[in-house]
Amino acid sequence: MIGTVTPASKVAEGVPAVVSSRFGVPDGHTLAGYTSSGSYKGYEALRQVLEMSPAQVSSVVKDATVLGRGGAGFPAGVKWGFCPPGVWPRYIVVNGDESEPGTYKDRLLMERDPHQLIEGCLIAAYAIGAAQVFLYVRGEMPHAQERIAAALNEAYAAGLIGKNILGTDFSVDIVLHWGAGAYIVGEETALIESLEGNRGMPRLKPPFFPAAKGLYMAPTIVNNVETLANLPWLFNHSVEQYRSVGTEASPGTRLIALSGHVNNPGIFEVPQGTTTFRDLFESEIYGNGIRTGHELKMFIPGGASAPWFFPEQIDLPLEGRLIGGQGSMLGSGAVVVMDETTDAVRAALRLVRFFARESCGKCTPCREGTTWEEKILQRILDGHGRPSDIDLLLDVADNISPGPYPVAADPSNDLEAIPFPPRQTTICPLGPSSVAPITSAIRRFRHEFEAKIVQRDLISVSSEPFAEVPAQSSLSHEAAGHV
């Protein structure tokens, strides 16, 4: 998307535009724009923060309960406190490798309001005592990279970054790093590996919790772009004002990337915890209804990794813990709506294929399992499915994510929700994420799978599970199938 198109984020009445106030401002990305427009005056928060002690800054963030916006929803202030005391240097790493299918909020934050992010970085660096910040921006976002680079240059020139910021003892460098295009690098330890110049592959936690052993084995705080973008507004206002929106557990607003079969897809800043999916889909200022003439079939509440929700869950509020208990996650705030024209099997394949292609190849179950899932789904769609394939899919999935997988309740079949998160045989959650569309689709739309298998299964007259339509090169398949 080109920067001249300006999808101004709409905010409901009475809701502050915490992070999106400059989305519609043509020069909001410049230093002049940042200091003269939006819901607060740019770099005022920094001035205030520099008069506070780092501990005070941290406690404000902790008191406000600024939840991480990258996916896990962990409170940023608490995370900052995980740095082992007295260990230096420390680093702030900004995770701008937004690449979850359906998510595009950080891109706008970086393209439209890079100074807001930079100011957030400076506040965080001051709070934890970091002298260096690494801004890792996804490889496929050249516009965001350019905007951030330009903003960094402006801020350096204005004495807002670098040595003795605003005449104080506080000095920080911000390094912009361009990713090379790998979804997995959105995982914080893989991002750190990539930043160190290695192949982006996750590290095992423990022992490599970034706060203790992160970048170059030093204490490292990895924060999402949106998380940090919340800070300038917070310090220009107050903890009370921040907490006045949303709920006790999930205060503040969230950027939601709404896509799919709604009349008005886009980015919306909504109050956390009080807005429901119904509000999001139907309100005129948000989705403005499911595609006219169609009805909701299912939706993904938090990006491609999240288990699916169905019409029964439409009245759930956008609140992380609640959604987790209902079998999915709010994740990175990407809501994908699918109406009744969507083929559940095809949708599952689309999502699984993404994970199969983006698997870094480190852990066996993810490397081999996601591809296997993709191949089975493709085979079913191609008309070569076997009746045993549904159970096979579920069992392959179980070998990536053992035990009951999170899934939404199904009142019509009297099935309860299985809460998030899934268990995993892998280091990071990428492999288990591929299981979400499979279990979600099979649990609710098993008949669609069965229909595709029966439909083309013309020769399969036997009830033997393995006597089915031979695949095109069946000989080699059969030969290869036996150990």
Binding site: L204, P206, T364, E368, T425, S476, V483
Partner: protein
């Protein structure tokens, strides 16, 4: 023996911080912080694995070692190779969840595996095969097309990669990067398309590439010298010690039908940790060479060597020795022999013939009193955490490759500080905490200055003041933990330079211990056995302890004899009647080429004991074919002074005999008795009974099960005479000083007869610093002429920033240019000039 071979058992540890954990319902004791996978295995709960290797950092990649671990927060599947043991941990390695997960992993690994076991080298010793038998479902549910790749591709001259078989465990890549320091292979692409690859146009040209074949848990990596040569179940094996250099890596010798087919590294904790260099690993090819000498040869009347009967050759040799005055008989070589053969030849030469002109070194080592006299250090001591190493030896990557691996590990993983003093950058330099490159012959001055803590006022050529201060402070701070590695970093420089420097450290830091890094395999054994002038076995000096050995042997020489340089000088002056070469090839190995030629030509009768026809053997009058490695029993002493057993696996070619037998036969023909009737054990028993140094390494002690990694000789110091600093004449019109060092692959006899390695030797070149190359207007590839007062040679130039200004580097024994033509062994340094040809 077979259990030790190829084993990847957890390292032996002493439990100093015990914690109690529960494994499968049993309470067991483990070391706090050790890896769970090791703790479980040590307590009889083996956990299957592919990527974990006890000598490499874990990555938790294959996921086969998932077990259920409860640390108080409820049981969860965790990779046991990444989890440090902590008190109260409850582990289940076998329950239903664990089995399901492990079975699932195995099915995933086999999904794309080609299952071409019948034609795979690894079949029969394959961890994937074994674990498939022990775990996992009997049948695969995978019905899709498998991954296909070109089978196999060569990733180096010796290693082939079959990407279809690869299970992407990161063992080879981790080894290359972390252990060898040659990160030339890596993963490319993603997901199930991930594969191992080299960089474009850059082969996996590591000196250690063969290790990746050994540790590959499937048949993805295979080695050219072994491919399709045998099935594992047809191999017989014995454990032995590699004699490719003096490190003394423990190996298994594997053979089939009386032919050695493979060496594999054995995890010897004090030495090689299961790693081998490729020269050692693939060196077995020389054993099977068609060119091995299989019968004695004698010079015929037309000047050619023709086959002879043993009796004929032995009689001729005995006649020559008998006819000669004892002091005109000289023996050069013997460093490749077993300890027993060395003792036999020391006794034969010194006790029976009566000559002390015996030298196992070819002017490329250090005086025996330096090697034996300084207090000794083991590799483990040098590499122990907290150690400071003053490294004054040759490039370890080129000459003592597995010692390099140990030093690199010590520096990188255990925080050992290495202060490297060398004439030019080496393979060790990147890991040294400071690296000073001195001008040839300046080492004594540099060490003196380092110990004094300040540079001389005028400085030292090429020594940076800041780097000097750093090195000096580290050296002076070391005191109790200082370990000094000494050797010959420059063959064109007098050995006295290193000896003086070592002596200065010995005097300044009395607690410092020394490791002599001399390349020849059993040189330490030869010196301990008395194959050196002025000494008798067990570090006895001829002058002081002659009487004791005279009582045993009947006689000993009356005065100290000559070293190799002096022997060759005497021979050149026709003062040597019989020159015996014990596996020595002075024409190729002695640094001063002219003297070697004149010496070998000047000796009246040359008797050679060798496995091959070498340049020197071709000049001999009588040639005895000898049994080599894996063809005879015996013991070996590595550079530390560690004695290990060498075991016979195959019979020698033709009628070749072991070296000690030839000494015994000749003694008998001279009417004397060498004191050996049946086998080499008698020689060892005689030596260990009479040498205090050897008293702890008797046959019985070596056969004790705890002595599998060998036993150390007494390493305590012996009397040590401080050498005199050599005088260096001021710089002449020759503006540069010559550095001659070795590469792993050269034209040496051994490597020359290894089909797969012989082509790896580079051609000769001259290396100059950019500062010295620029004024010549020369660049890489320019033909330059190097001249010294003694000769000149021409070779291609390589501009190398690792060479300091004022020096030039040439490699020993490569095709194309012979630095030996420039050297006069009488000079302390070799001064040269370089001009564009």
């Amino acid at each position: 023996m077979k259990q030790r071979a190829m084993s990847e058992k957890p390292r032996k540890i002493e439990i100093t911080d015990p914690v109690t954990i529960t494994v499968d319902g049993r309470e067991v004791t483990a070391q706090n912080g050790e890896l769970l996978i090791d703790a479980c295995e040590r307590n009889d709960a083996y956990i299957p694995r592919f990527c974990y290797h006890p000598r490499m950092n874990p990555v938790g990649m294959c996921r086969m070692c998932l077990v259920e671990v409860d640390t108080g927060r409820g049981p969860a599947l965790q990779p046991s190779c990444m989890i440090p043991v902590a008190a109260e941990m409850v582990v289940d390695t076998k329950n239903e969840q664990v089995s399901k997960a492990q079975d699932g992993i195995l099915e995933f690994l086999l999904a794309n595996h080609p299952l071409d076991c019948p034609v795979c080298d690894k079949g029969g010793e394959c961890p994937l095969q074994d674990q498939t038998m022990a775990y996992g479902p009997g049948e695969s549910r995978w019905v899709e097309e498998k991954r296909h790749y070109e089978k196999p591709i060569a990733i180096s001259e010796t290693v082939y990669l079959d990407r279809e078989r690869c299970i992407l465990c990161d063992r080879c890549t981790r080894f290359a990067k972390d252990v060898a320091g040659d990160p030339l292979i890596h993963f490319i692409d993603r997901g199930s398309n991930t594969e191992i690859a080299t960089f474009p146009d850059e082969p996996f040209s590591s000196y250690f590439s063969g290790n990746t074949v050994q540790i590959c848990p499937v048949g993805a990596l295979t080695a050219k010298p072994y491919r399709f040569r045998a099935r594992p179940w047809d191999l017989e094996e014995v454990e032995s010690t590699c004699t490719g250099c003096s490190v003394g890596c423990r190996i298994t010798v594997q053979s089939s039908r009386n032919q050695v087919l493979r060496f594999q590294g054995v995890d010897s904790d004090p030495v090689n940790w299961s790693w081998l260099c490729d020269k050692g690993r693939f060196g077995f090819e020389a054993i099977n060479s068609e060119e091995r000498l299989a019968e004695p040869l004698m010079l015929s009347s037309d000047g050619t060597l023709i086959p002879a009967r043993w009796a004929e050759a032995l009689n001729a040799a005995a006649d020559a020795i008998r006819a000669a005055d004892p002091t005109s008989v000289a023996v050069i070589g013997g460093a490749q022999l077993t300890n027993e053969s060395q003792y036999a030849w020391a006794k034969f030469a010194k006790g029976i013939i009566g000559t002390d002109h015996v030298d196992a070194q070819l002017g490329d080592g250090l005086a025996a009193e330096v090697v034996l006299g300084l207090p000794g250090a083991t590799i483990d001591q040098v590499c122990a955490p907290g150690s400071t190493v003053l490294y004054m030896g040759p490039d370890p990557k080129e000459e003592l490759s597995v010692l390099y691996i140990r030093l690199k590990h010590a520096a990188q993983e255990d925080g050992v500080q290495i202060i490297e003093l060398s004439p030019a950058a080496s393979g060790l330099s990147p890991y040294a905490s400071s690296s000073l490159h001195y001008r040839p012959a300046d080492l004594p001055k540099l060490v003196e200055a380092l110990l004094a803590g300040e540079l001389p006022d005028q400085g030292l050529p090429g020594i940076d003041a800041a780097e000097f201060t750093k090195a000096s402070q580290a050296l002076l701070a070391a005191e109790q933990n200082l370990h000094v590695v000494i050797g010959r970093a420059n063959l064109a420089e007098s050995a006295d330079c290193v000896a003086v420097a070592a002596s200065a450290v010995h005097q300044a830091v009395p607690g410092a211990t020394f490791l002599s890094a001399l390349r020849r395999a059993n040189l330490r054994g030869a010196l301990e056995a008395g194959l050196t002038p002025g000494m008798l076995p067990g570090r006895s000096s001829l002058a002081e302890h002659g009487q004791a050995w005279k009582e045993l042997w009947g006689s000993v020489p009356s005065t100290a004899g000559m070293d190799t340089t002096q022997i060759l000088q005497a021979a050149a002056a026709s003062k040597v009647d019989v020159l015996i070469l014990l596996g020595a090839d002075p024409l190729a190995d002695f640094a001063d080429r002219s003297l070697a030629r004149r010496g070998v030509a000047g000796a009246r009768t040359v008797i050679s004991l060798d496995r091959f026809l070498t340049a020197s053997t071709r000049q001999a009058d009588i040639v005895f074919p000898v049994a080599g490695f894996a063809e005879c029993e015996g013991t070996h002493t590595n550079l530390e002074g560690r004695v290990t057993r060498l075991n016979q696996k195959v019979t020698p070619p033709g009628t070749a005999r072991t070296d000690w037998m030839i000494a015994a036969e000749l003694a008998a023909l001279l009417g004397k008795d060498l004191g050996v009737e049946r086998d080499a054990h008698e020689l060892w028993d005689e030596l260990t009974a009479h040498s205090a140094v050897h008293s702890g390494v008797s046959s019985a002690a070596l056969d004790h099960p705890d002595a599998a990694d060998g036993l150390l000789l007494d390493l305590g110091p012996s009397p040590f005479v401080t050498p005199v600093a050599p005088h260096v004449a001021p710089q002449s019109s020759y503006s540069l000083r010559l550095i001659v060092n070795r590469t792993l692959y050269d034209q040496g006899t051994e490597i020359h007869h290894c089909d797969s390695s012989s082509a790896l030797a580079p051609t000769a070149s001259v290396r100059l610093s950019p500062a010295d190359a620029a004024p010549l207007g020369a660049e890489d590839g320019t033909q330059v002429t190097v001249s010294s007062p003694h000769g000149s040679i021409t070779a291609a130039l390589i501009v190398d920033s690792g060479v300091p200004k004022g020096s030039a580097v040439l490699r020993h024994n490569l095709e194309g240019a012979d630095p030996g033509l420039l050297i006069d062994s009488a000079d302390v340094v070799c001064e040269i000039r370089v001009e564009v040809s």
